[in-house]
Amino acid sequence: MALRRDSVVLGVLLAPVTIFLGVFFLVPLLIIAVFSFLTPGLYGGVEWSFYHWNYGRIFGWADGIEEIYEPVYLQILFRSLAFGVLTVALCLVLCYPVAFWVARLPERARLFFLFLVALPFFSSLIVRLYAWLLILKPSGVLNETLIALHIIREPIELLYTPAAVVLGMVYVMVPFMFLPLYAAIDNLDRSLVEASMDLGANRRQTFLKVILPQTIPGIIGGSVIVFIPSVGNFVVPDVLGGAKGLMVGNLVEQQFLSARNWPFGSALSMLIMSVVLAVLLLATARARKAGGQA
């Protein structure tokens, strides 16, 4: 009897989130999956007949007349993945030591610092990226300051370079890496660190065998949260990269707008999603393994 009531309560509690995810996540996903196998309409939209060339264009079995296979799409995907990996690596290197430092601050200072990390979310991403444009341009704040300090004579080329894109991505993603890392580091069992030092392990051994395994879940969590949006980001490459290097996110946007090819855009989206899903599965497998060890 009690069991039945529990499951009713559970059902009632879970229903909203299930319905929400079903309507706003699964249904759109299904639409994209179905569209990716349909014929593009001449003026956007789809025609309801099966069409596999959308994938053929990407992977190499296009007919060569209506649809042409071009390796450029996979190149763009790999380029975006590489940018994603680089963004994750830089965010990790930047945030890991800082998270340790913050975790040791007195409580008030710590809360203030966490507030600072969250502060950028109060303004729009686009406004913040235009601020970076003003900082990085040849006559911008950064170059002017360096020239005034006699560190450089001529402005450095920053704006509209791949370096500016990476900088912008790292800037946008740092909070997403910091927060999970901080949570993991804050929960670190410090008595284990002391025990390790007492028992004769050196600093390096302590870090690798005691600290790192305990913070792995934070590292993996942060990396996944940073990696996924980095791969699909198209705003940063447009604003700071001058739209000169196409990313897979730009490509998808272009298919739905200027190219009016919804099915091809859907196929590209499915491709990104599969790659991201593969990364996620890999990450959870690693996290489980790491969890088992600890």
Binding site: G44, K137, A243, Q254, S258, N261
Partner: protein, 340 residues
């Protein structure tokens, strides 16, 4: 970028465009109508006007196709006007029967599907050319000069982040129509742009800020860019001698418009020369309204890059819908943007 802003704004405002007495919902390009016109219309008629914006024809079409309702009037470019006619999305307004329509220049009936303006009212037109800082670049007459700027002066240049506008430059320079559907011609145009890509700093709509701060010396931009440089005599605009595109937008009523009477009233309001002139003064566009051309500020009327003389009109080209051949341009554009 702008697309993202426009999209978000459009989505946010979508719900607010309600169907009620005395309302009118416009869906226009960003910064493409003088707010004073809307105020004057509201003051005179008591009709409440709302305005949502988009930043590309495709964005607008995608939203209307996806079933966005509540909008009365849209402002498609001529080739999109044709597409929307083919898709049956536009309402026949008989605006060409309205008093005051005789003010409209028949040369602006550029739509192939609506050649007598039975559906839409020609709204505004202008060229896409080059803004340049003469202090740095010296005189610029066309695209060849433009692409030489970086090598000659060490200064930077930008192109628009627009597939067809950029491809049009390549097609002009290789002697083809901007509406070519011949794969070889498109390939030649692509090769031309690729050969110039190293000279181009960015594909962007944000050139005015950079041109004003001397971070670039020249930019591919719409004539409407004049608005940023009114007190900068050293920044000049040229319609390139090798060829330039002429854009035109038309004012159209949607078949799904909830306020058809109000929409027609607005279109008729816009036939008045003094109203159309308000737009020219703020937008630096050409007006389809012939008497309005005499009512604008002197420096606009006397500027041959804004008030286009007939010989200029002869050498500019307007985009038409390419149908399936659009794919060729999409592929070319991907190649151009990926090339390192």
């Amino acid at each position: 970028m702008r697309k993202a802003i426009g999209l978000a704004l459009g989505l946010a405002l979508l719900g607010t465009a309600a169907d009620a007495e005395g309302k009118l919902a416009l869906y226009n390009w960003g910064d493409y109508i003088n707010p004073l016109i809307l105020k004057k219309f509201s003051d005179e008629t008591g009709i409440e006007v709302s305005l949502d914006t988009y930043s590309s024809n495709e964005e607008m079409l995608a939203k209307i196709q996806a079933g966005a309702t509540g909008y009365d009037i849209i402002f498609p470019s001529v080739h999109m006007h044709d597409i929307m006619m083919k898709l049956g999305l536009l309402e026949k307004t008989d605006i060409n029967q309205s008093p005051g329509f005789e003010n409209i220049d028949p040369a602006t009936f550029r739509s192939q599907e609506d050649p007598k303006s039975e559906y839409c009212l020609p709204y505004a037109f202008g060229t896409v050319g080059i803004f340049y800082n003469e202090d740095i670049t010296g005189p610029i007459t066309g695209w060849a000069d433009f692409f030489n700027i970086p090598e000659k002066t060490g200064a930077k240049i930008t192109l628009l982040d627009d597939m067809r506008e950029v491809m049009a430059i390549g097609l002009f320079m290789t002697g083809h129509s901007i509406n070519s559907t011949d794969p070889e011609e498109i390939q030649e145009a692509t090769d031309y742009i690729l050969s110039k890509k190293p000279a181009v700093s960015a594909f962007t709509y944000e050139s005015p800020t950079l041109l004003l701060s001397n971070d670039i010396a020249a930019a591919h931009f719409f004539v409407g860019g004049h608005v940023y440089y009114v007190d900068k005599p050293n920044i000049k605009y040229v319609i390139p001698k090798e060829g330039a595109t002429l854009y035109q937008e038309d004012m159209c009523m949607l078949k799904t418009a909830p306020d058809k009477a109000e929409a027609k009233r607005f279109m008729e309001f816009y036939l008045r020369p003094e109203i159309a002139a308000l737009n020219v003064d703020q937008q630096f566009n050409g007006s389809a309204n012939v008497p309005a051309r005499e009512l604008v500020a002197d420096y606009i009327r006397n500027d041959p890059t804004i008030t286009l003389p007939p010989e200029t009109l002869k050498r500019v080209q307007t985009f038409v819908d390419l149908g399936k051949a659009l794919k060729l341009y999409d592929r070319a554009w991907n190649t151009i943007r990926t090339a390192q």
